[in-house]
């Protein structure tokens, strides 16, 4: 049986949100979505845009994949097609959002550039959809979980972009410039996020 909103109550929902944002942050404890995290974190405003795009897509895709799983895949006993079905839903959803942004928010569209289509291959999105099924969440609980995970991702990428801006001015060894120092920085941030790992409600 899947877990519904009514089963969880307010406390349960809050616990899902806090766990997803802090204790089990997608970047720092689950390693989901590292590519945009490392690639698009040069300045905080772009990072915020990317974070919002991911949160938006993740909420919608968790809801839709939850519905598809509950009413199509489980009913016809096609659970083994989950990966294929989910990735197709996500790819078309991203395409839709891209078209929408191009028309109505061209500034954000040009800022996100090539990273928007890359949301399709962002493992955080597919990961969220698969984790919801694994935890047997109801579609609406999945949407809440997806939203909270997206917020956690946004928090991580914005904080990281802020730190990276400062690191850019530091005098670091030649071979560590760019990517390697970014990874070490992320490691230090992950250490601070590990402090949240004991939290349970």
């Amino acid at each position: 049986m899947s877990i519904t909103v009514a089963d969880l109550g307010l406390g349960g929902i809050l616990s899902i949100i806090i766990t997803a944002v802090l204790a089990e942050n997608y970047i720092f404890s689950k390693f989901l979505g590292c590519c945009p995290f490392l690639g698009l974190s040069e300045n905080p405003s772009n990072a915020l845009g990317m974070g919002c795009a991911v949160t938006f897509v993740m909420t919608l895709s968790s809801l839709i994949t939850g519905l598809i799983n509950k009413y199509i895949l489980v009913v016809f006993e096609l659970e083994y097609l989950q990966t294929i079905a989910f990735i197709l839903v996500i790819a078309s959803l991203v395409q839709l959002i891209e078209m929408f942004l191009k028309k109505s928010v061209p500034a954000l569209y040009s800022a996100l550039g090539i990273y928007l289509p890359l949301i399709t291959t962002n493992c955080a999105i597919l990961g969220a959809a698969l984790l919801c099924v694994q935890n047997s969440y109801d579609p609406f609980v999945s949407a809440i979980y997806g939203f909270a995970s997206g917020v956690g991702f946004t928090l991580a990428i914005v904080v990281f972009a802020g730190v990276r801006e400062k690191v850019a001015f530091a005098d670091i060894p030649k071979s560590f410039k760019g990517f390697p120092i970014a990874l070490v920085t992320a490691g230090l941030l992950a250490m601070s996020f590990a402090g949240f790992s004991g939290i349970t409600i």
């Binding site: 720092f28 404890s29 689950k30 390693f31 989901l32 979505g33 590292c34 590519c35 490392l38 083994y80 097609l81 989950q82 990966t83 294929i84 990735i87 197709l88 790819a91 289509p117 399709t120 291959t121 962002n122 493992c123 999105i125 597919l126 990961g127 698969l130 984790l131 694994q134 060894p173 030649k174 071979s175 560590f176 410039k177 990517f179 390697p180 120092i181 970014a182 990874l183 070490v184 992320a186 490691g187 230090l188 992950a190 250490m191 590990a194």
Partner: protein, 211 residues
Amino acid sequence: MNTLKKMMRAGIIDENPIFVQLLGMCPTLAVTTSASNGFGMGLTVICVLALSNFLISLLRKFIPQQVRIASYIVVISGVVTAIQLLIKAYLPELDKSLGLFIPLIVVNCIILARAEAFASKNNVVMSILDGIFMGAGFTIALTLLGIIRELIGCGTIFGFDVLLRFGYTPILFFVQPAGAFITLGVLIGAVTAIRNKTDGRKKALKGDEAK
């Protein structure tokens, strides 16, 4: 024979997916808590990469240009699903330790990058070889990272006691997420330093001026 050598060198050294192209970071960081996990993940990726390159190369003349990415994703997710079911059936332990990251191979940038950059332009045999060599580069990087993390974090390699017998106290930090980021960062930094040196002083200086 010469091209074969060149491709091998490209996949493992010159264009190593992890150390040079910096693709596919999520599984790299997540599954390398031990050498055997990293190695298992690498082998899985070799299978997926060779098969998906094979299929995409076979279909390259039938796939319309406009919908090629979507078609590649469908092919790749089909291959991954098949391999996931095989692993679940025959290697349940590997399935347990890699968990979510087996289906997530679908969205691994390496697979799509090779499909787009190589398999869609080359013949079937070359594409399979490219898949195998790129996968080998990935496997070597993951195994190396796994060995380092396991050795420092648990005192073992592939589960065999190496340092513990000398009274070594494992530094748990290295098998934790933060340790993954830092170990990979230092490793890539070291590889870059070695590459800069072997590329010759002149080239390294030129690269710096360009930056």
